[in-house]
Amino acid sequence: MKETIIKTSGLSKKFGTRYAVANVDLHIPRGEIYGFLGPNGAGKTTTIRMLLGLAKPTNGTIQIFGKDLKKEKLEVLKRVGSLVEYPSYYGHLTARENLEAIRILLDAPKTRIDEVLSIVRLTREAKRPVKGFSLGMKQRLGIAAALLGNPELLILDEPTNGLDPSGILEIRELIKSMPKEHGITILVSSHLLSEIDLMATQVGIISKGRMIFQDSIETLRRRSSSNIVIKTDEAEEAWKLLLSKGHNAELEQGRLQLSNISDHEISKVIAELVESRFPVYRVQEEKKSLEDIFLELTGGEGGL
């Protein structure tokens, strides 16, 4: 059993009368890339703010590294690096000065600035004022700042938001390399399933403030079971035939659908249809995409 890095129980945050986050139980083991997924406004950022001690939970507890965040906030934050929503920076300062202002507070060695600059590949831009940076560069600077204190846990809120495809790729590769090279645990939020699918090892899906799925990405993928769809004439007659023969078929939009069916059974189904003179036009496999599962889980409201 791997060590648990983040564990929340019954975490809730109320704004007025509305619960932005309700009863969220996060569980993140060491060394994982945890994809925190949900439509915009589902409560991802609010949850992350609570994890960083920026907002106080209305209810529930947060344990990071096995410590109660409320009691040992500064001890916990020493080992956490974060980037919340759009990047924060001091525009009139250079990249190096920006990092220096944070380094002093962290008591990190001066050499660490060069290290993080090279990790995010900003070494050559280090002497330029940050206000002239592109969004991607600012985002990378934000990640560099998050890495300054040699964190064991990295919390990144929508790190690829607003970036162009090459910027997204760059950040994604950077994130994927962290656990391997530095043994860091990462919590990364996104409203894009495809993003999470490409980098996460664990997934938590939140919708309307509630956690609706939390497990490994494989488990989520396994739910994308395949359907066999058969196209034939007189589908209703054919369907009745299959039911009478004891097959678990469904009739949908004039097509026959069989889910979770073995190869052996499907050959029997086709033989029976042909014997009864139903013309079989097409037998095809339809895989449910992760998007379908996501929409199913979130009850169809979008944000993808």
Binding site: A55, L77, V84, Y90, H92, L93, I104, L106
Partner: protein
Amino acid sequence: MLKILASDLIKMKRKIIWLLIFLGPFGVAALEAVNFGLRYEYLTKEYEKDLWGGLINEAGFLATPALMLGLTLIASMIASIEHQTNAWKQLLALPVSKLRIFTGKMLLASLLLLISSTLLLIFVLILGLVLKFGSDFPLLGLAKMAYYPYLASMTFIAVQIWLSISMKNQAIPLTVGILGTILSLISFRFPDWLPWKWPLLENSWGDPAYSALAGLAFGIVIYFLGAVDFTRKDVN
């Protein structure tokens, strides 16, 4: 605490705020130079017995509104550095207590205004020497002119830091500060307990030290209230 101040000073690099620190006292001294230049005969006759005292009196009268306006702008600028890209969330997710962050901003504002006040002392001293008021200048009197209003306005430094930090829209703290400046100018007739009167160093005991002390003490109280409020609030 020194780390926080060092970090804050890095953030002040290449900011117009440094110009303001210099320009405030320089402006007061320059206006006095014009004042004495134009009315030299009249003023030297008026203050015949104590030329230095006269200069200190005139300069002190101008220094008060300059200080009140200056502290408003400085508090707002210090807070704006963090407001601009909402750096609060980055800053406060660092392993530094919110109390220390707030205290750092308060210290920074106090330190910058202390520099301004010291510059005022130096500029007025130079002006007096240029006007040939004699080399036996009253250093204590000059120091009182520079530092008593500074201490008396500590209340307003605390108020402006609190307001500027707690709201992103700087129009409100700036309005409060400017109205306060005007109020302090006409507060001669107001009762002694009114904080806006303190920077003028006017009180019924006739000792400016009381005004300075009241401003400092009340300033500490307000700083404390502001710090408690800041640590309790969620970060936006």
